[in-house]
Every structure is written in C-alpha cells, then in structure tokens.
Symmetry: C2
Amino acid sequence: MNIAGGKRGRTTIHDVAAAAGVSISTASKALNDTGRVSVETRERVKRIAGEAGFRPNALARGLLSKRSFTIGLLTNDTYGRFTLPLMQGISEALVDHGVSVFLCAIEDDPALGQIHVEAMLEKQVDGIIASGKRVDRQLPVDLSKVPVPVVYAFTEGAPDSVTFRSDDAQGARLAVEWLVKSGRHRVVHVTGPEDFFSVRERAGAYRSVIGGEGLVLYGQWAEAWGHEAVQRIWSGQTGRPDSIFCGNDQIARGAVDALRERGIRVPEDVSVIGFDNWEIVAAQTRPPLTSVDMELKELGRQAGLTVLALAEGRPVEAGVRKLPCRLVVRQSCGGENPTE
Amino acid sequence: MNIAGGKRGRTTIHDVAAAAGVSISTASKALNDTGRVSVETRERVKRIAGEAGFRPNALARGLLSKRSFTIGLLTNDTYGRFTLPLMQGISEALVDHGVSVFLCAIEDDPALGQIHVEAMLEKQVDGIIASGKRVDRQLPVDLSKVPVPVVYAFTEGAPDSVTFRSDDAQGARLAVEWLVKSGRHRVVHVTGPEDFFSVRERAGAYRSVIGGEGLVLYGQWAEAWGHEAVQRIWSGQTGRPDSIFCGNDQIARGAVDALRERGIRVPEDVSVIGFDNWEIVAAQTRPPLTSVDMELKELGRQAGLTVLALAEGRPVEAGVRKLPCRLVVRQSCGGENPTE
DNA sequence: CTGAAAGCGCTTACAG
DNA sequence: CTGAAAGCGCTTACAG
C-alpha cells in the first residue's frame, strides 16, 4: 500500500493520518499508545502505519523531546583491543533503549578530538562515553564542560565524574592465588612499563600475595620482552621460578615460546598466566594461555547504562567503579587445575 | 557572556538573534554566509554566536534539509581486525564533511541487524556502509530496499550495488613475484579454507605466477595450521620449498615458528610472506613478517566518500571496485630484498 | 539590507 | 474520543 502520495519523500505521520482518515494528533496518540483514542481507531492507524512501513522521524522527535537517543563513544584506542569489546557492551545495553552510538576514533590528536566532540554536540548526543587504553592518561580533549553527561572508561576522567575500570589488583590476585593454590610457590611477575598505573596495581597485588621474596621484572608490552625476560631469568644465578605471571598476553606468549625453546615444558615444569584474555593471542599460544579477563564487555554495558541514567536525569554517584576480573583457565598452568 | 536568558536549555539562534538585536532570519543568514547581510551585521552576529558558544542544532537543520550528516556502519566483524581500520578510513574521510558514523556490530544475528537498521533509518542516516569479513558472504540483513544509499565493503552486496574489496589476486601476485624476484623458485602456498573466495583468488594468482608445479595447501586461518603445514611439508618426501606464501599472517606466524623449531632459518633458508599485515601479528613474529596489506583504511576512505556522493545525489557507477594491495617488507623474506 | 511567515515532522497541552 | 493550535530550532523563499 503506497500512501505516501505524490510527494517524493518518505511516509510521514501526515500520510498515515490521511490514509486512516484521522487528524495528525490522533494518529500520533494512536501510534504512541498515549492519550485517549478508541481501540478501533488505534488499531486501524497502527495497521495502516505498519503496512506503509511508517518510520517516525527521530530528528523531529528529538527536536521536541530534547533527546536524540544517540550517544558518542570517544576513543584513542587504535588497535581496537579495548574499544571493540567495550563498544559491543555499550551497544548491547543501549540498543534495547533505542539508543545508537557514534564512534569517534581520535588517536591522540586534540584538534581531531575537538572536531568530533563539536560534531557530536551539534547532533545533540544525550551523552558521551570517553574511553582509552590506560586509566592514568586523559584523552586529548577537555570534556569537563560539555553540556551533556560524560562517563569515562579506561581513561582518567574529570575529578567529579563517573569512571569505570577493571580491578587490576583483584585480577592479579586471582592469577597469583590460582598459581599458589595449584602448588606453585616460586612465582615471578613479568610485566609492562612501571609508569602504567595498572602495572603498579598488579605488581602490588602480586607482592601482597607472594610476600617479600617476590620478583617483578618491568619491561615492554611485547612478546620480545616476555622472551627476553625468560632468557634473563634462566641464565641468571637466582633460583628458577616454577611459574610466571605476566602483565599481558603478549608478554606471556613470548615467555611461553622462550620456555619451549629452552626445552622447559609448559605447564608441567612452569606455569604461565597472562592478562587481557585477548583471544587472538591467548588461544593461539601453544599451549593456550590461562589469562585474566577484564570483562570489557560488561564494563561497556555498565558504562552505557550509566550515561543513559545520567541522560535521563537519574541520580548517579560519582567516583571510580572498579569491576572485577575473571580468570579464564586454559592449558598454560599446571598443578591440580581444580576446576573448568 | 551568557545570553541564553533564563531558559534552562542550550543557546539557540533565537538567543543569538536577540543579543545581536536582529531577527532570527538575519541571524541565520549571517551565520551561514548566505543571503544579503551587511558585513557589519554579519560580523556582529558571528562574534556574539562565538562568544556564547552557539552550536546549531543539527536535528533542526536535518529536519529541514533532509540530510542528517550521519551514516551507519554495519558490521559482523567482531574481532575488529577489519572493522577498525575500515572505520578509521571512513571516519577520516567524512569528518571533514561534518558527517558522523553510527557503528552497529551485529554479529550474525538477523534480528539484531534488523533492529539496528531500523534505528539508523529512524535517525535518518544519509547512507549505510555494510561491511563484513569475507567478500563471498552477505550480512544477515536485507539492505536491498532501504530508502537510503548503501555501499558494501568486504561483504557481498546486492546485485546492482557498489562494492569495495581488495584485489586479492594482485596482492598475491605481489607477494609471489617478490619471492621469485628475490631468487626464490620453490614457493608453496599455505592458506585458509578453499571455500573462501579470497582463498581461491589468491591461490589462482599464485599458480599463474608459479606455473604448473605450484603446491597449494588449504587449511584453517590459524597458527596451528601454519605449524602443521610446515611439519607436513618437511616430513614428506617432496622437495623442500625455499619459500612459503601464506594466506594470512597467523598462518605465516605458525609457519615461521615451526621452521625455527626445526632449525630452519628464516629468511636465510626459507622466506615467508603473510597476508593482512596485521600489525600485532606481523610485527611480533621473529623475524617480523613481510606481509600483504589490503589497505583497509584507504578502502574505508573510498567507501565513505562514495556513500557521501550517493547521498548527495551525485552519480556513482555500480559494480565491484577492487583496490590494490601493497607489500610491506619486513625481515621474513630473504634474497636481495631490493628496496625498503 | 532586513524581517515576517511558512514549514520540516512530530508531540502535547488544550478545547470541544 | 477527536482535532486545531502551538511549538521544538532552524532555513528559505518572499516582501518590504
């Protein structure tokens, strides 16, 4: 049924109303289940709208309601290692509420960031989620005085804002305790650069579980570093560890490869645990890596629901929310491997 | 300067006009550099708008102009290996035109796809880019009769549409010819599942360069397969190759690792080339992988500019556009290594 | 050069 | 129960 008439445009509520023989206001009420409309009229309008494939213009609606059902996701994470899972969580949480997400990848370019923020604000986003790849760095844009709510994820937020991040200490504890429980007692920690907040958090937790004799090796977030660390440890004169807790999966991968090349069996001789649970690395390692998952998708979900709450004026407590990590057990750590 | 008056909302053109002592229409013309307005008035209005941080409401503009300066990117690529670079290209190309991008990750869920498409259409996107991870599969949504232009990237499009993909054959030729030119003549091709169109394209190109005696091994897109393929080749009775052209970087990585474990030096004894130039894999391999780059960002740029052209009613020729690949030379292939 | 008016597509009091 | 009117923020003919 083509009720759009001669006009070239899409079917509007005007067309629907005309076809149903009612006024525009009645059509609106019928379609939105508001106001007082007879059941019969309501159903007729709905049927006609359905047949015509009527789709209400969100621009017009937004103009009235001051809500665009749109939010912006700002990120400087190029690789997408953090962004994609986060995005998925946000999107999943918000699609049910009719909210769509603008993705703005801004690298570390303040000018580009500014342009994207302007564009989003002109488009009347209901809120912004700012996401990064490390919790102790800010994005290169000042979001402190945009006229919409902002939620931060994995990046440092403004003082009085809501910020989501994983609980690095708890995640590290999970890993180290697992090693200890499975009978490993000489655990070393090979991790990234010490100036990362997460690195210090994880190292601190490692030390608190292991006690005084812990050994932490700081380096780069790269396979090569994991490899080198193993060389260094096994060619040194200190006692050999029976397990390595790594700061990320790439380091763990490098370590596992280096161990294999030395004829050291994983997990029989040495257990290895990574961090990030980055499927593409963790699952392809031989043997596949046990790793700490930061639950980025869940983090995204919560961040999404939180901007939504703020956009709707519901009260949200400011502060940093640390979300628990989860240990994903694969074959790279030995001992009893109690579960899974 | 706060000119927004007592109203709780944002500064509107009404506020600006009032503060400048002109009518709304004059303010509009002044701000948009249209119509006949005295230089003095124009500048005063602009200055006042600037001071007040006036930001035109894109919803209102879109309602009039029938253009939302918004497009949708639909993708079923969860890992983001393809999506993120593509997205970056699209975004870069369009940000200059004031266009923002909705990202919709739909997995392979038709219902979710439908919901996202509906949401985008309600929001009056000017166009849609449908992207996937293989050119011989369609997304789980029917885009053939949406009322806005659609461009396909890395996924199979409707018959009469514009589709972008890399030139797999040319990319493969680049790799194989490089090996041959650098003095390698016993090249084998270890690649993914034969039912991928790209796999057949690349294998075909490989054969056309190598001639009759080519050997193609089909398998999985995984490191384990690259590893296994090397075992198989080197434990078989056929002649040993002096180079391996792999269907992707993960396979190449597996192959390089397997070669090293056998004491075969890369690139001295055997050259290896990958495909995808996936930084995270290619750069971390020891030695780093020479690889074929599909130029996804450029592909994104072109796809973006093309939807834009279509949205503006400019003529665009339908059909499949194959974009050339580029060989990124790292240390995994030996011989003369003429350049870079 | 400037402004009043109409209108984009919709919703929401307010009358009837 | 139904509809005419006003209005969201802006642009664009059209008068003056």
